[in-house]
Amino acid sequence: MKKRTKLEKAILALGESTGHFHEAHGDGVALFDDGVLEAPHGAEVTHQEHAPVIVPPGTYERSIVVEYDHFLEEYRNVAD
């Protein structure tokens, strides 16, 4: 089984057109390359435009909202 890697920063998503990013902060917060966010004491998720989100202690799966491209006839993560 492939060993997962802890990412340097808990940046959950990075905006291509704005340079803005969603980032998790908090004691012991760790984001891994498989998209799992560990927040043993909870986390605050910040973004330059959105209000912060406080999540309670736990382990989370990070995913990205999807949209359907009717021209390519496939769905994809929303890119911003």
Binding site: G19, T59, Y60, R62, S63, F71, N77, A79
Partner: protein, 390 residues
């Protein structure tokens, strides 16, 4: 050893915020003599022979392209690492010797971290929040990120991140300069003086063994009330050669969206793959006109959500979800799976939920911020809507 900032020092925060924000956003022609003095001093500080030539360019893009062409003809090694290392390591060591250590959980980048590690939490946090972060928000978040991204888009793989950021290094300089001028750490920050001179005088620079490229400042910077790059009648950032960044409320777009939004076709809007850019297109054209262009028919409504069926102009009609961004109050439209015939199914599709995963009584709470979703790991049932949505 600095244990704590005095009230007299703290009261100077706004002075440094203004000074370095103004430098970072300055649109005056470069002070070439001063900048060239800074470059020579930077090489001297790094104990490297001064460059034979200092070449001025008219924009970061022009700098990248001329640098690329020249380096294909004449091999020359980048000395930016040496220049940076000599300055940052020295400043770091000197400041560290003068102020108390502290532990910081987050690391923004190696340079700032080097200085930050040398001060107490309270000193670090107050300086960061009151000086650096303010300048950072004004300069780095908006201007530098957009210019970097635009250069990257323009030259693709030929773009190398071997630049000093000149005036866009204002946040770091604000931080160091505060300790130099307000806290008296003169000797400890002497080696950052070359960096300060360049930052105060010009745009990006790229130092090599025999040559140093340096760029003029931007000649136009337009921002909205939130400090985001924004212009309705021209480039939001423009350099003397006419290259720059088109932007709407912080989103990089193209000239057509800014100057001629009425010429956008339904196909252009529907095919735009970047949701933020598409959102700006919808905003510029107007949601009502977009609905007219696509001969939209409303299928279902739920709060501010509306499921529309749009005519794609090729004989097909397909479902799209019209929604209001709760954070910035603008409409946007996203395609949803062809099987979606209600708002609820469309919302489930967006966040990867199926009907059998939804339990509004015993299901787990989950969270959504913009396009990012956090769901508890290993859980089978979820509530139908996020507990917090921003």
């Amino acid at each position: 050893m600095i244990e704590k900032l005095t009230d007299a020092q703290i009261v100077r925060f706004p002075e440094f915020v203004k000074k370095w924000t103004d430098i970072g956003l300055c649109t005056l022609p470069a002070d070439r003599l001063r900048a060239e003095h800074g470059i020579r001093l930077a090489y001297e500080t790094a104990k490297i022979k001064a460059p034979l030539k200092i070449v001025w360019t008219t924009s970061p893009l022009a700098q990248v392209l001329t640098e690329d062409v020249c380096l294909r003809i004449h091999k020359s090694a980048s000395v930016l690492d040496s220049v940076r290392a000599s300055v940052h390591a020295s400043v770091h060591a000197s400041v560290r010797a003068s102020v108390r250590d502290s532990v910081h959980a987050s690391v923004l980048d190696s340079v700032l971290d080097s200085v930050r590690d040398s001060v107490r939490d309270s000193v670090h946090a107050s300086v960061r929040d009151s000086v650096r972060a303010s300048v950072h928000a004004s300069v780095l978040d908006s201007v530098l990120a957009s210019v970097h991204a635009s250069v990257r888009d323009s030259v693709l793989d030929r773009y190398y991140w071997w630049f000093g950021n000149g005036q866009h290094d204002a946040p770091w300089c604000a931080y160091v300069n505060f300790f130099r001028e307000a806290a008296g750490l003169t000797e400890q920050t002497d080696k950052a003086e070359a960096h300060r001179l360049i930052t105060e005088s010009a745009g990006w620079f790229s130092p090599y063994t025999h040559i140093c490229w340096i760029t003029e400042r931007h000649r136009r910077v337009c921002r909205n009330g939130r400090g985001q790059l924004h212009s309705h009648d021209g480039m939001a950032v423009e350099y003397p050669d006419g290259w720059g960044v088109w932007a709407w409320n912080g989103v990089r777009v193209n000239e057509q969206i800014i100057l001629a939004p009425n010429t956008l076709t339904p196909k252009q809007i529907a095919k735009e793959s970047n949701a933020q850019v598409r959102q700006v297109m919808v905003e510029r054209v107007g949601i009502e006109r977009v609905c007219q262009l696509f001969n939209a028919k409303s299928v279902d409504k739920q709060g501010t959500y509306e499921l529309l069926v749009l005519d794609l102009g090729d004989g097909r009609t397909r479902p799209y979800l019209k929604m209001l961004n709760p954070s910035i109050g603008v409409w946007h439209v996203e395609g949803v799976h062809p099987s979606c015939d209600t708002v609820r199914k469309a919302l489930n599709f967006r966040v990867g939920l199926t009907e059998d995963q939804i339990d509004d009584i015993n299901g787990a709470d989950w969270y959504e911020q913009g396009d990012v979703i956090l769901k508890p790991k290993g859980v089978a049932k979820f509530k139908s809507s996020p507990t917090i949505l921003t």
